[in-house]
Amino acid sequence: MKEIINLPVHSIEEEEYHINMGPQHPSTHGVLRLVVTLQGETVKKVQPHCGYIHRGIEKMCEKDTYQQIIHLTDRMDYLSAHINNHAVCLLVEGALEVEVPERVKYIRTIIDELNRIASHQLWWCSFGMDLGGLTCFFYGLRDREHILDIFEESFGSRLLHSYYTPGGLMQDIHPNFQKRTKDFIKYFRKKIKDYDRILSGNVIFENRSQGIGVMSKELAINYGVTGPSGRASGWACDIRKKYPYGVYDKVDFKEILRTDGDTYARYMVRMDEMRESMKIIEQLIDNIPEGDYTAKMKPIIKLPAGEYYQRVESARGELGIYCISDGNKTPLRMKFRTPSFVNLGVLDKISRDMKIADLVAIGASLDLVIPDIDR
């Protein structure tokens, strides 16, 4: 009896407990495990445990030639595979000081933007699904299918393309490419209004997202949160504007910035980015110059010894590749600074003292892709 009396007294309000969100959970979008410390329904701490699909891509890169590395980068952020490929190509081209034909630059820019739209569409539908609007999922995937069809016709695959090679492209674009892309833009301009009607303006959605997971600009910079998530906090971090590659310096587009830094701002930035991407494609699609689809490259690429850093704006943020070459045909060290990995770091900070439902919304608004985290 005495023992029972001497037990430490926990007040019910203060008692915390843990739940495992993941590795198998509908809203972690893959095999991410979040150990969530809860007080009632209020999130007190989030500890991400990653590595469930760590494949050691960086280690594999040390054994592969630069052409072979391309197909590994596809598998990091599979939703913006082209943009990942672009980063490796730019790195190799920059190191070798190869001038790629204008045509290649135009095509790469168009395809990057198409890929960005496809990625944002998938983000939109999974975001809607995480908030409970299951119909969004099907609308997003339905429209994404059109982009995947364009990809499939030109490059033969839908998700992991390996279409860019150092110096150019695998093959020229399909003759139908321009027509299909223009058709898609026309189609999607109509459908994106549905997106707004079903989710953006909805009062339930506004209540679920406004003021949730607020991230200030300083916080975003300190945590290195780039991409649409960073721009929603007012940080102008668009690589396409700051360090232009491709033909981004020739096209007219706005860098979407918002200052609220909440889930709603992150949502709206991505919605507006889809429209901006369509604008970029419209400017370029009729003006693709004639020419070769690849520059003359040696069959075996050896980078001069040295260190190279190349960054591109992937759909999730800044994708950086840091490469140390010792003059061989394989790199000494290849580091991928993947946006999802860095963006995951802020999840704990901004989701504290929110509800579980908010944690799901915040996680979805950061647009994490798990293979991109684990690599």
Binding site: Y17, I19, H25, P26, S27, E41, G128, M129, D130, L131, G132, G133, L134, T135, F137, F138, Y139, R142, I198, L199, N202, I204, F205, N207, R208, K355, I356, A357, D358, V360
Partner: protein
Amino acid sequence: MAFNIYDFTSFNQSIDELLYEWLPPFWAMIVEMTIIGLVFLLAYAIVGLLLVYAERKVCAFMQNRIGPNRVGPYGIFQTIADFIKLLMKELVYIKDSDKLLFNIAPFIVIIASFMAIAAIPFAKGLHAIDFDIGIMYVVAVSSLGVVGILLAGWSSNNKYSLIGAMRSGAQIISYELSVGLSLLTIVVLAGTMQFSQVVELQSTGWFIFKGHIPAVIAFIVFLIASTAETNRGPFDLAEAESELTAGFHTEYSGIKFAFFFLAEYMNMFIVASIAATVFLGGWMPFHISGLEGFNHVMDFIPPLIWYIGKTAFIIWLMMLFKWTFPRLRIDQLLNLEWKYLLPINLVNILIMAFIVLMGWHF
């Protein structure tokens, strides 16, 4: 009246008299109850299966899909195949769960929904029992199901289940108020709680038209609150698939899960029936005063069809809610009830009382 040809009263009475003629009164009653029980059990299963199929088809069409289309023509046997699968599945034993409560919970949920069906008039004379406090009875009984949900979540020994159950408890207790008050608005107008009388009173016009704006408001409030009470989207916080994986029935498998599943759809059917009965005239045909020919044609459509049509319309509305809106958060859910629905409802009931007092209703 033309719809007398569809009157089930005499048919029921003849069976009743026949049984009492043949058997001693005690056994006659037993046999009668058994027959009614079996009929309802059968109807329950069929309606449940149909609703699951309808939900799949409806949501598929809203999402630009075809929906089930492999098992049987247009996939009509899909749900039957699914239930056979569920029947054959293993009932997983959960370590450290409270076995008694864990096993009993699905039955409480399904019995609660079963009891509520008893009072609903499907057509003239076609109801199991006609209480003179029918509305009160249905409201009371349909809220019993939450006990089952709470027990299910509590006994599963799973934190997800527990959170789901607690959410469900808070939710149903709150929304019970709005359901009751919005029905009360109509009770004020009708002056009776007996379902058969409520329907009879609507022979000159459905209450949603008779009761001016307060009745329309009460209808909307009832739709929202009853959607919440049945734990359906956008109020499906107890399940909250993307947050709590499956909420209170995370740990249930096989036939026990099927019970929860069936009960959810039957609850939807029940609240849709109540809404149809109380606001849209139940099995009463649609009449426009003055157009005798039109009314006559309407009378020839059997009341059961009217009833099913109205119920189906409301079920379709509830499906539209579920497949359009994102889910609310728990605090917003309670906000909606206590800050919006309840005050509106209270004012609404006052206005309705005033209208009835002044005799301004039709």
